[in-house]
Amino acid sequence: MLEPDRGLSLTIARVVQRLQGSSLHSQLERQARVSLHKPEIKLESLKEDIKDFLKTSGWEKKLQNAVYSELNVFPSPCHPAAPPEHIKEPLAYMRKAQGSWEKRILKSLNSMCTELNIPLAQKRPANEQKELLNKWNEMGTDEPDLSLFRPVYAPKDFLEVLMNLRNPNYENGEQPSFRNHLGLIQVPLKVKDIPELKEDFNELGLNIGQLGIDDSAQVPPEFFENEHVRVGQKVLAEQDSAAAQQYVRQGCPTALRADLWALILNISNQPEDILYYEQLKSNVIQHDLLVDSLIYKDVKLTASNDDYYFVFEDYLYQVLLCFSRDTSVLEHFTYSSATPPKSYIQGKLGMEEYAVFYPPNGVIPFHGFSMYVAPLCFLYHEPSKLYQIFREMYVRFFFRLHSISSHPSGIVSLCLLFETLLQTHLPQLFYHLREIGAQPLRISFKWMVRAFSGYLATDQLLLLWDRILGYNSLEILAVLAAAVFAFRAVNLMEVTSLAAAEAVLADLSTLKVMPLLQIFLFATVT
């Protein structure tokens, strides 16, 4: 809690520090220097003329977009007395729980490594390097023996951990009382109720046009769609990230989606970005990681088996293997509750000069991880751009879905939000499912952890992810999960077991997400 001026100064200083030395910074400097040759730049009013030039040439807009991106991603500064771990996660017991969970993952990986007698990382022999380089674009044709590898964890293992999360300062009595929650999550995080959600998501209201509803075949395009597309083209022409973020709340036209998402995420695919991707590729060629086998296995088990995504198998390897080598991902650990695993090379334990992170990006993939990338393959076909979009989506959103934190978009809050919404607005259904041993979260958890990827039809999934970007929040995942239960409530009231409930909710591929969300938020009588 800071004085407003001091808070603003700290924010400005932080943003300046982050942008210093970036390629945008050097480009701006170069542009300013080049502009000195122009006749309209006069020495007497040098500062103002250069500022005007940067404005008219569009460079100021690029800087605005970069600043906006920083503000969206990094949390606002807290008091200088707050230590770094407080910025990662303010609640001590959550930090501890995340630490224990990470230790379990490390133990699992270490034991796999010892059992299989494979090192976590080693340099690839020269002939293997050559071979990999040759088949870089068709790694999917490889059929390595992955039978001995197992995923480090699956979403249901993670759910067990979240169910056992307790605040030691909370009165978790044995006797059922108002203090115990009826769902699986027992931590008292603040979650929004429907009136608050209506306010936050007010662009999804009944009287506002939406893609996913008002572009259906029955609705003449003059009513909404044509104008919306026209506005989208204008937003792209202006190259304004903030305007794009506001625009996509009503959905992206398919033809404009790739560019709009890139604008919101501030991805421009400059030559230096392509070079960076190529550098990552060469890192993949040079060093073989155990994590690579986990990635292979995950892709083979999930995306390759999916009707929509199997065609993108090669792309998935090209993105995920490079992702594991990308040290720039380490930056997100300043605001994530997670900590990257550490190791020492050549067995030199405890000697800091030999300390490294493993994998280089600090992220150990779990079962289903490749499904974060798969839907993006519909939008981006150039590997380096696809890579950058995925990386940015991960460090803004997806990391919150598999780490324990109190953030409103963290998976714990999403689970509690889902359970609270269901309990408040469909109490009979909630009670019934609980009585038959089918706690609703056991079914919806996997949807939310994967941001519904692989469960919805792709066009519907992309409409959902439009809103994640537009609102810079994952709360919509919990709202959709509750809306799905509301939609199938009649069938669910008739089931008598968890297996039957899962069968009712097994196939979401026919669902239309926007009508479901609209009805649940704006048309349900409370």
């Binding site: 603040k190 720039s328 408040t424």
Partner: protein
């Protein structure tokens, strides 16, 4: 079982502090904080005065928000950054006598006097509802009126819709000067019965001239400069001395920025080309 519904702590200062500049602490599940200071009064006596009343640390006392945050109070604090979004909502609800731990509302079930800060604002029952109400498990009878906040449907035993009036969050204002302070009393309140303990930790009081440790950032960023007016050149040539000084200043600024080496992202994850890793470390 007794429920600890309020607590207070007295902090004494060793010698009178000429002027208290800042008070810094870390919260641990305290919902509201009041601060009283002992200062010299008329005729040389010392008397207690309230300098801060019911500062809200946790907008919704049943939930975690703000429960372990760091706070900083300045002698001239005039607005509550961060809590401006908080809505001081008031609702009235007929509480049932069956709910354990709840105390009955004073007065009629429909009226609760509200004292978020200094003003007492009676809420008419006919006020237009702003939000669907939720019941609140504590009352004004404990300490004579309290701002009630947030919405916590999940931990409330009854979700009785009640009219709710939304009031703007009043500005935080120190009610008295922090000069010649001989003793301070911190009164902590936590109306929610769900927490086992509540307190404030790492309390630090900084006298004038000694500010709390700040992150290092260049001084030229700490001043918010107003937008500059472009120089008017109608019919006059600018002073060459002035121009050259300005150019020099800009040049120096550029050099300073250039000299500050940004952390280069080289992307190296190996150590001298070696990345042979066998086991992960647990520490």
């Amino acid at each position: 079982m007794p429920v600890r519904i309020w607590g207070d702590a007295v902090v004494g200062l060793r010698s009178p502090v000429p002027q208290v500049q800042e008070i810094v602490f870390r919260n641990f599940y305290t919902a509201f904080l009041s601060v009283r200071v002992q200062r010299p009064g008329p005729g040389g006596s010392r008397r207690w005065m309230t300098c801060l009343r019911d500062l809200c640390l946790m907008p919704c006392p049943h939930t975690e928000e703000g429960s372990q945050d760091y706070f900083c109070l300045h002698r001239h604090q005039v607005s509550m950054s961060g809590w401006d979004r908080g809505v001081t909502s008031l609702w009235c609800s007929p509480l049932s006598a069956h709910t354990p731990g709840w105390l009955p509302l004073q007065g009629s079930g429909a009226h609760v006097p509200l004292t978020p800060m200094a003003a007492r604002v009676p809420v008419p029952h006919s006020a237009p509802p702003a939000l669907t109400g939720r019941c609140l498990p504590w009352t004004s009878s404990i300490w004579g009126g309290l701002g009630v906040l947030g919405g916590c449907p999940k931990s409330c035993p009854q979700s009785v819709p009640a009219p709710v009036v939304t009031l703007p969050v009043p500005s935080l204002q120190m009610l008295c000067d922090l000069d010649q302070v001989t003793a301070m009393r911190f009164i902590l309140r936590q109306p929610s019965p769900v927490w086992l303990h509540f307190t404030i930790e790492d309390l630090q009081i900084f006298p004038l001239g000694q500010k709390s440790p700040q992150k290092d950032f260049p001084s030229w960023l700490s001043q918010l400069t107003p937008p500059e007016q472009p120089a008017s050149l109608h019919g006059e040539l600018p002073d060459p001395e002035k121009v050259s000084t300005e150019v020099q200043q800009m040049w120096v600024l550029t050099e300073v920025i250039r000299a500050r080496q940004a952390a280069a992202r080289i992307g190296r994850f190996d150590v001298d080309g070696c990345y042979d890793v066998n086991l992960l470390s647990y520490t």
